[in-house]
Symmetry: C2
């Protein structure tokens, strides 16, 4: 995004938070009026099917944008829930869309973010083993944290195992077992929700089929 876009954005930003863990930021069906950038903390998005089973669609780290998939229906298609204490920057969507018309850099950035999310969802939908999914989850998280200046090798999982499982389309028990085996094999260090990637290259090669392309 160019300098010009960033300067103009200040006029339509609304800082929100801190929002405590467990709070809904928006709910499926709410009228869509804004996207938001995570400033601190972690947000999960999920939908709940008729039978009440939750499906976690994604986790959003500081610097990442939530709400984009709501554009085409005018209301949010999923819930967004704070996993820990969260601070956001809200951008009114009508205003940002108008601004994007004047700023090609901003328009490009929005197309870019949307297009990236398609790729992410497509990767998840591939048929992959539990090992591949979990390795890819760890490697992806590590890279995204590193991109924001956090440690790539040691980090805290802000989400419970059930959410990881739901996001990867696995049973929570499977997540436990695979993490356990990765630990036994010396690929990771693990204590409760603290993770250390001891063999990033090995994990990346396991994750390769999922993360590549």
């Amino acid at each position: 995004m160019d300098k010009c876009a960033l300067r103009d954005l200040h006029v339509l930003v609304e800082h929100v938070g801190p929002i405590p863990a467990g709070t809904h930021i928006f709910r499926a069906g709410d009228r869509f009026d804004a996207i938001a950038a995570v400033r601190s903390g972690t947000v999960k998005t999920s939908r709940v099917d008729r039978e009440g089973r939750e499906q976690v669609l994604g986790f959003y780290l500081p610097g990442e944008i939530i709400g984009l998939s709501a554009i085409h229906r005018g209301c949010y298609p999923c819930n967004a829930i704070a996993l820990d204490s969260v601070q956001l920057c809200r951008f009114s969507f009508p205003k940002i869309a108008i601004l994007a018309s004047r700023l090609p850099g901003l328009q490009k950035k929005l197309f870019d973010l949307l297009s990236r999310d398609i790729g992410y969802a497509e990767r998840l939908s591939g048929d992959h083993t539990a090992d591949e999914r979990i390795a890819a989850f760890l490697v992806d998280l590590s890279r995204r944290l590193a991109a924001r200046g956090f440690s790539a090798s040691r980090f805290h999982l802000t989400m419970p195992r059930t959410d990881i499982a739901s996001h990867l389309r696995l049973a929570p028990e499977t997540v436990s077992r695979v993490l356990r085996r990765f630990k036994d094999e010396g690929r990771i260090g693990l204590r409760r929700r603290e993770v250390e990637l001891k063999d990033p290259a090995g994990l990346a090669s396991l994750a390769e089929r999922m993360l590549t392309t």
Copy 2:
């Protein structure tokens, strides 16, 4: 899209085709310079992993747009292949992006299409049984064909079983078996690639968990 946008689009459209079945329209890695609307025929998009296994990402019917997921990397992330004789309208992306800046209706339409594709990929990635996947595939196809003025209840599958299987993350054998059972149960008529939906309501209720939300 508003009238004004449609009129201006004429200046940057390039009609392409007929392209014979089996031809690559673009390949993964090709420089991204255009999106295209399918005018007639069917296009599949797919990626091929390191081990040479093809994963079908989507099927595109007349009226639908291919190439959007390429925006964020500047090159196509997948192959697009004609399944039968195909005619396209190509839109230069740089030009259409500039035009979108001047036409809020067009910008909205592009955001909309991107956002819709995210929803589609997310649905596919859910954990669903083979029955749900195949019912959802048939119902979705029927609806999209109907939206373009084709029969909703009788249609021709332009893709081989292996492509359907790959797209739904199933084995081709499973596709065969489930279609067979749907036929035995009187839900569909099936002969080779000709399908008739005999019980659209029943299929829709099977597909519900996948198509809803």
